[in-house]
Amino acid sequence: MASANCPECEGDVALGDDAMQGEIVSCPDCGVELELVSTSPPKLEPAPEEEEDWGE
Protein backbone atom coordinates (compact mmCIF):
# COMPACT_ATOMS: atom_id res chain seq x y z
CA MET A 1 0.00 0.00 0.00
CA ALA A 2 1.32 3.45 -0.92
CA SER A 3 1.82 6.16 1.60
CA ALA A 4 2.81 9.82 1.66
CA ASN A 5 4.08 12.28 4.21
CA CYS A 6 1.80 14.71 5.93
CA PRO A 7 2.96 18.23 4.96
CA GLU A 8 1.99 19.48 8.43
CA CYS A 9 3.63 16.99 10.79
CA GLU A 10 5.70 14.74 8.48
CA GLY A 11 3.64 11.78 9.71
CA ASP A 12 3.13 8.76 7.47
CA VAL A 13 -0.32 8.70 5.86
CA ALA A 14 -1.37 5.34 4.38
CA LEU A 15 -3.22 5.50 1.07
CA GLY A 16 -5.56 2.82 -0.26
CA ASP A 17 -4.73 1.00 -3.52
CA ASP A 18 -7.73 2.73 -5.06
CA ALA A 19 -6.69 6.20 -3.89
CA MET A 20 -7.70 8.84 -6.41
CA GLN A 21 -6.51 12.33 -7.18
CA GLY A 22 -8.44 14.92 -5.21
CA GLU A 23 -9.31 12.45 -2.45
CA ILE A 24 -9.47 13.89 1.04
CA VAL A 25 -7.72 11.92 3.78
CA SER A 26 -6.94 12.69 7.40
CA CYS A 27 -3.46 12.44 8.89
CA PRO A 28 -3.59 9.77 11.62
CA ASP A 29 -0.93 11.64 13.64
CA CYS A 30 -2.05 15.28 13.63
CA GLY A 31 -5.62 14.86 12.34
CA VAL A 32 -5.36 17.55 9.66
CA GLU A 33 -7.41 17.10 6.48
CA LEU A 34 -5.26 16.56 3.40
CA GLU A 35 -5.90 16.47 -0.32
CA LEU A 36 -4.13 13.90 -2.48
CA VAL A 37 -2.99 16.27 -5.20
CA SER A 38 -1.05 13.63 -7.15
CA THR A 39 -1.08 9.84 -7.13
CA SER A 40 2.25 9.11 -8.78
CA PRO A 41 4.22 9.99 -6.88
CA PRO A 42 1.70 10.34 -4.06
CA LYS A 43 1.67 13.87 -2.73
CA LEU A 44 -0.50 15.44 -0.06
CA GLU A 45 -1.34 19.07 0.57
CA PRO A 46 -3.63 20.65 3.15
CA ALA A 47 -7.22 20.34 1.93
CA PRO A 48 -8.92 23.64 1.08
CA GLU A 49 -11.19 24.99 3.76
CA GLU A 50 -14.30 25.86 1.83
CA GLU A 51 -17.72 26.69 3.08
CA GLU A 52 -20.32 24.37 1.70
CA ASP A 53 -22.62 26.63 -0.14
CA TRP A 54 -23.66 25.89 -3.57
CA GLY A 55 -24.67 26.81 -7.07
CA GLU A 56 -27.86 25.81 -8.83
Binding site: M20, E23, E56
Partner: protein, 270 residues
Protein backbone atom coordinates in the same frame (compact mmCIF):
# COMPACT_ATOMS: atom_id res chain seq x y z
CA UNK B 1 -41.85 45.35 -2.49
CA UNK B 2 -42.38 41.77 -3.51
CA UNK B 3 -39.75 39.34 -4.84
CA UNK B 4 -40.92 36.19 -6.60
CA UNK B 5 -38.64 33.33 -7.57
CA UNK B 6 -39.93 30.79 -10.07
CA UNK B 7 -37.97 27.61 -10.50
CA UNK B 8 -36.86 25.91 -13.67
CA UNK B 9 -38.07 22.38 -13.04
CA UNK B 10 -40.07 20.44 -15.60
CA UNK B 11 -43.74 21.41 -15.72
CA UNK B 12 -43.44 24.90 -14.26
CA UNK B 13 -46.05 27.00 -16.07
CA UNK B 14 -44.60 30.42 -16.88
CA UNK B 15 -47.92 31.59 -18.34
CA UNK B 16 -49.79 31.52 -15.03
CA UNK B 17 -46.88 33.12 -13.20
CA UNK B 18 -46.68 35.95 -15.77
CA UNK B 19 -50.45 36.51 -15.63
CA UNK B 20 -50.23 36.94 -11.85
CA UNK B 21 -47.22 39.23 -12.11
CA UNK B 22 -48.98 41.37 -14.71
CA UNK B 23 -52.08 41.68 -12.51
CA UNK B 24 -49.94 42.69 -9.54
CA UNK B 25 -48.12 45.25 -11.68
CA UNK B 26 -51.46 46.70 -12.79
CA UNK B 27 -52.44 47.06 -9.14
CA UNK B 28 -49.26 49.05 -8.51
CA UNK B 29 -47.46 46.37 -6.53
CA UNK B 30 -43.73 46.77 -7.23
CA UNK B 31 -41.95 43.47 -7.78
CA UNK B 32 -38.82 41.77 -9.01
CA UNK B 33 -39.05 38.36 -10.66
CA UNK B 34 -36.14 35.92 -10.38
CA UNK B 35 -36.16 32.70 -12.37
CA UNK B 36 -34.35 29.41 -12.87
CA UNK B 37 -33.95 27.10 -15.85
CA UNK B 38 -32.47 23.86 -14.61
CA UNK B 39 -34.58 21.38 -16.56
CA UNK B 40 -34.11 23.11 -19.89
CA UNK B 41 -30.39 23.52 -19.23
CA UNK B 42 -30.14 19.76 -18.75
CA UNK B 43 -31.92 19.15 -22.05
CA UNK B 44 -29.81 21.64 -24.02
CA UNK B 45 -26.59 20.35 -22.44
CA UNK B 46 -27.52 16.82 -23.54
CA UNK B 47 -28.19 18.01 -27.09
CA UNK B 48 -24.89 19.87 -27.21
CA UNK B 49 -23.00 16.75 -26.16
CA UNK B 50 -22.07 18.05 -22.71
CA UNK B 51 -24.50 16.17 -20.48
CA UNK B 52 -25.15 17.55 -17.01
CA UNK B 53 -23.33 16.16 -14.03
CA UNK B 54 -24.38 16.71 -10.47
CA UNK B 55 -22.26 16.53 -7.37
CA UNK B 56 -23.18 16.11 -3.73
CA UNK B 57 -21.45 18.12 -1.06
CA UNK B 58 -20.06 16.48 2.06
CA UNK B 59 -23.09 17.77 3.98
CA UNK B 60 -25.54 16.36 1.44
CA UNK B 61 -26.45 19.29 -0.84
CA UNK B 62 -26.67 18.44 -4.54
CA UNK B 63 -25.66 20.91 -7.24
CA UNK B 64 -24.62 21.14 -10.85
CA UNK B 65 -20.97 20.46 -11.64
CA UNK B 66 -20.12 23.64 -13.49
CA UNK B 67 -17.09 23.84 -15.74
CA UNK B 68 -16.58 26.68 -18.22
CA UNK B 69 -18.52 24.91 -20.99
CA UNK B 70 -21.39 24.29 -18.58
CA UNK B 71 -21.58 27.95 -17.61
CA UNK B 72 -21.78 28.87 -21.30
CA UNK B 73 -24.69 26.47 -21.83
CA UNK B 74 -26.24 27.74 -18.60
CA UNK B 75 -26.09 31.29 -20.00
CA UNK B 76 -27.69 30.21 -23.29
CA UNK B 77 -30.71 28.87 -21.45
CA UNK B 78 -31.04 31.09 -18.38
CA UNK B 79 -30.07 34.46 -19.89
CA UNK B 80 -31.24 33.57 -23.37
CA UNK B 81 -34.23 31.37 -23.92
CA UNK B 82 -35.73 31.38 -20.45
CA UNK B 83 -35.22 35.01 -19.54
CA UNK B 84 -36.40 36.28 -22.91
CA UNK B 85 -39.44 33.98 -22.88
CA UNK B 86 -40.53 35.58 -19.61
CA UNK B 87 -39.86 39.11 -20.86
CA UNK B 88 -41.79 38.37 -24.06
CA UNK B 89 -44.80 37.03 -22.13
CA UNK B 90 -44.80 39.95 -19.72
CA UNK B 91 -44.51 42.46 -22.55
CA UNK B 92 -47.51 40.80 -24.20
CA UNK B 93 -49.39 41.36 -20.95
CA UNK B 94 -48.55 45.05 -20.93
CA UNK B 95 -45.67 44.88 -18.45
CA UNK B 96 -42.55 46.74 -19.51
CA UNK B 97 -40.21 44.01 -18.31
CA UNK B 98 -36.42 44.20 -18.54
CA UNK B 99 -34.50 40.92 -18.43
CA UNK B 100 -31.09 40.99 -16.81
CA UNK B 101 -28.60 38.46 -15.53
CA UNK B 102 -26.50 38.86 -12.42
CA UNK B 103 -23.61 39.84 -14.67
CA UNK B 104 -25.35 42.94 -16.01
CA UNK B 105 -24.42 45.96 -13.95
CA UNK B 106 -22.97 43.49 -11.42
CA UNK B 107 -26.51 42.90 -10.19
CA UNK B 108 -25.60 39.73 -8.33
CA UNK B 109 -22.04 39.47 -7.09
CA UNK B 110 -20.15 37.07 -4.87
CA UNK B 111 -17.03 35.01 -4.39
CA UNK B 112 -16.31 32.07 -6.66
CA UNK B 113 -15.55 28.79 -4.96
CA UNK B 114 -12.53 27.39 -6.70
CA UNK B 115 -12.51 24.17 -4.76
CA UNK B 116 -15.49 22.21 -3.48
CA UNK B 117 -15.58 19.21 -1.20
CA UNK B 118 -17.83 16.55 -2.66
CA UNK B 119 -18.68 12.90 -2.16
CA UNK B 120 -17.83 10.52 -5.02
CA UNK B 121 -21.16 8.99 -6.14
CA UNK B 122 -19.82 5.44 -6.43
CA UNK B 123 -17.06 5.05 -3.88
CA UNK B 124 -18.42 7.44 -1.24
CA UNK B 125 -14.95 8.93 -0.95
CA UNK B 126 -14.60 12.61 -0.16
CA UNK B 127 -12.91 14.53 -2.95
CA UNK B 128 -11.78 18.05 -3.73
CA UNK B 129 -13.34 19.29 -6.96
CA UNK B 130 -11.49 22.08 -8.75
CA UNK B 131 -12.07 24.26 -11.84
CA UNK B 132 -15.70 24.86 -11.00
CA UNK B 133 -17.57 28.07 -11.65
CA UNK B 134 -19.90 28.24 -8.70
CA UNK B 135 -20.34 30.66 -5.87
CA UNK B 136 -22.76 32.49 -3.64
CA UNK B 137 -24.32 35.91 -4.01
CA UNK B 138 -23.11 38.26 -1.30
CA UNK B 139 -23.89 41.61 -2.89
CA UNK B 140 -26.86 42.93 -4.86
CA UNK B 141 -26.78 46.12 -6.94
CA UNK B 142 -30.01 47.39 -5.42
CA UNK B 143 -29.54 50.90 -6.81
CA UNK B 144 -29.73 49.59 -10.39
CA UNK B 145 -32.93 47.72 -9.54
CA UNK B 146 -34.43 50.82 -7.92
CA UNK B 147 -33.43 52.89 -10.94
CA UNK B 148 -35.41 50.53 -13.16
CA UNK B 149 -38.38 50.25 -10.82
CA UNK B 150 -38.59 54.00 -10.30
CA UNK B 151 -38.56 54.52 -14.08
CA UNK B 152 -41.46 52.09 -14.56
CA UNK B 153 -39.56 48.98 -15.67
CA UNK B 154 -40.09 45.54 -14.20
CA UNK B 155 -36.87 43.58 -13.58
CA UNK B 156 -36.70 39.91 -14.51
CA UNK B 157 -33.47 38.51 -13.10
CA UNK B 158 -31.54 35.34 -13.65
CA UNK B 159 -28.27 33.72 -12.58
CA UNK B 160 -25.37 33.55 -13.31
CA UNK B 161 -23.84 36.02 -10.92
CA UNK B 162 -20.48 37.72 -11.34
CA UNK B 163 -17.48 36.77 -9.24
CA UNK B 164 -15.08 39.20 -7.62
CA UNK B 165 -12.68 38.26 -10.43
CA UNK B 166 -15.37 39.18 -13.01
CA UNK B 167 -16.22 35.61 -14.06
CA UNK B 168 -19.73 34.26 -14.58
CA UNK B 169 -20.60 31.92 -11.71
CA UNK B 170 -23.44 29.51 -11.19
CA UNK B 171 -25.32 30.48 -8.05
CA UNK B 172 -28.40 29.09 -6.42
CA UNK B 173 -31.43 31.04 -7.66
CA UNK B 174 -33.45 30.71 -4.46
CA UNK B 175 -30.65 32.14 -2.37
CA UNK B 176 -30.01 34.83 -4.98
CA UNK B 177 -33.70 35.80 -4.76
CA UNK B 178 -33.37 35.89 -0.97
CA UNK B 179 -30.47 38.33 -1.30
CA UNK B 180 -32.43 40.48 -3.73
CA UNK B 181 -35.43 40.56 -1.37
CA UNK B 182 -33.23 41.56 1.57
CA UNK B 183 -31.37 44.22 -0.46
CA UNK B 184 -34.61 45.82 -1.61
CA UNK B 185 -36.23 45.66 1.82
CA UNK B 186 -39.03 43.48 0.43
CA UNK B 187 -41.88 42.56 2.76
CA UNK B 188 -42.44 39.23 1.07
CA UNK B 189 -40.40 36.67 -0.83
CA UNK B 190 -42.32 33.98 -2.71
CA UNK B 191 -40.37 30.93 -3.88
CA UNK B 192 -42.35 28.77 -6.29
CA UNK B 193 -41.43 25.23 -7.28
CA UNK B 194 -43.10 22.04 -8.41
CA UNK B 195 -44.13 20.96 -4.91
CA UNK B 196 -46.72 22.53 -2.56
CA UNK B 197 -44.09 23.58 -0.01
CA UNK B 198 -42.25 21.76 2.76
CA UNK B 199 -43.64 18.24 3.15
CA UNK B 200 -43.41 16.35 6.43
CA UNK B 201 -43.60 13.08 4.56
CA UNK B 202 -42.20 13.60 1.05
CA UNK B 203 -43.72 13.05 -1.53
CA UNK B 204 -47.16 12.97 0.17
CA UNK B 205 -48.58 16.40 -0.67
CA UNK B 206 -51.16 16.14 2.16
CA UNK B 207 -48.26 16.34 4.59
CA UNK B 208 -47.67 20.03 3.77
CA UNK B 209 -46.27 22.15 6.57
CA UNK B 210 -48.51 25.22 6.32
CA UNK B 211 -46.88 27.46 8.91
CA UNK B 212 -43.27 27.39 9.97
CA UNK B 213 -41.94 29.79 12.59
CA UNK B 214 -38.50 31.06 11.64
CA UNK B 215 -36.83 29.49 14.66
CA UNK B 216 -37.85 26.05 13.37
CA UNK B 217 -36.29 26.35 9.91
CA UNK B 218 -33.21 24.33 10.80
CA UNK B 219 -35.33 21.63 12.36
CA UNK B 220 -37.42 21.47 9.16
CA UNK B 221 -34.24 21.21 7.08
CA UNK B 222 -33.02 18.27 9.11
CA UNK B 223 -36.26 16.41 9.67
CA UNK B 224 -38.41 16.92 6.61
CA UNK B 225 -36.77 18.68 3.70
CA UNK B 226 -35.60 16.58 0.78
CA UNK B 227 -33.23 17.55 -2.01
CA UNK B 228 -33.53 21.12 -3.22
CA UNK B 229 -36.05 22.00 -0.49
CA UNK B 230 -33.18 22.15 1.97
CA UNK B 231 -31.60 24.95 -0.06
CA UNK B 232 -34.92 26.76 -0.39
CA UNK B 233 -35.19 26.74 3.40
CA UNK B 234 -31.64 28.07 3.61
CA UNK B 235 -32.70 30.89 1.27
CA UNK B 236 -35.78 31.53 3.41
CA UNK B 237 -33.61 31.76 6.51
CA UNK B 238 -31.22 34.18 4.82
CA UNK B 239 -34.08 36.37 3.59
CA UNK B 240 -35.65 36.58 7.04
CA UNK B 241 -32.29 37.33 8.62
CA UNK B 242 -31.90 40.08 6.01
CA UNK B 243 -35.10 41.77 7.16
CA UNK B 244 -37.75 40.23 4.88
CA UNK B 245 -40.92 39.82 6.95
CA UNK B 246 -42.38 36.74 5.29
CA UNK B 247 -41.22 33.95 3.00
CA UNK B 248 -43.71 31.68 1.26
CA UNK B 249 -42.65 28.45 -0.37
CA UNK B 250 -45.45 27.89 -2.84
CA UNK B 251 -46.61 25.63 -5.64
CA UNK B 252 -45.98 26.83 -9.20
CA UNK B 253 -48.47 24.38 -10.70
CA UNK B 254 -51.84 25.95 -9.87
CA UNK B 255 -54.05 28.33 -11.82
CA UNK B 256 -52.83 31.42 -10.04
CA UNK B 257 -49.63 30.41 -8.28
CA UNK B 258 -48.34 33.78 -7.09
CA UNK B 259 -51.76 34.91 -5.86
CA UNK B 260 -52.31 31.60 -4.11
CA UNK B 261 -48.95 31.85 -2.35
CA UNK B 262 -49.64 35.46 -1.30
CA UNK B 263 -52.96 34.35 0.18
CA UNK B 264 -51.08 31.89 2.37
CA UNK B 265 -51.13 28.70 0.31
CA UNK B 266 -47.88 26.83 0.73
CA UNK B 267 -45.41 26.91 3.59
CA UNK B 268 -45.51 30.36 5.16
CA UNK B 269 -42.40 31.18 7.16
CA UNK B 270 -42.39 34.23 9.45
Amino acid sequence: MLVVKVGGAEGVDLGTVCADMAALAAEGQPWVLVHGGSHETNQVAEKLGHPPEFVTSVSGYTSRKTDRRTIEIFEMVYCGKRNKALVERLQALGVNAVGLSGLDGRLLEGPRKKALKVVHPETGKRLVLRDTYTGTVKKVNASLLRLLLDAGYWPVLTPPAISEEHEAINVDGDRAAARVAAALGAETLVILSDVPGVLRDFPREESLVERLPRHRIEEAQERWAQGRMRIKLLGAKEALEGGVARVILGDSRGESPVRAALSGKGTVIE
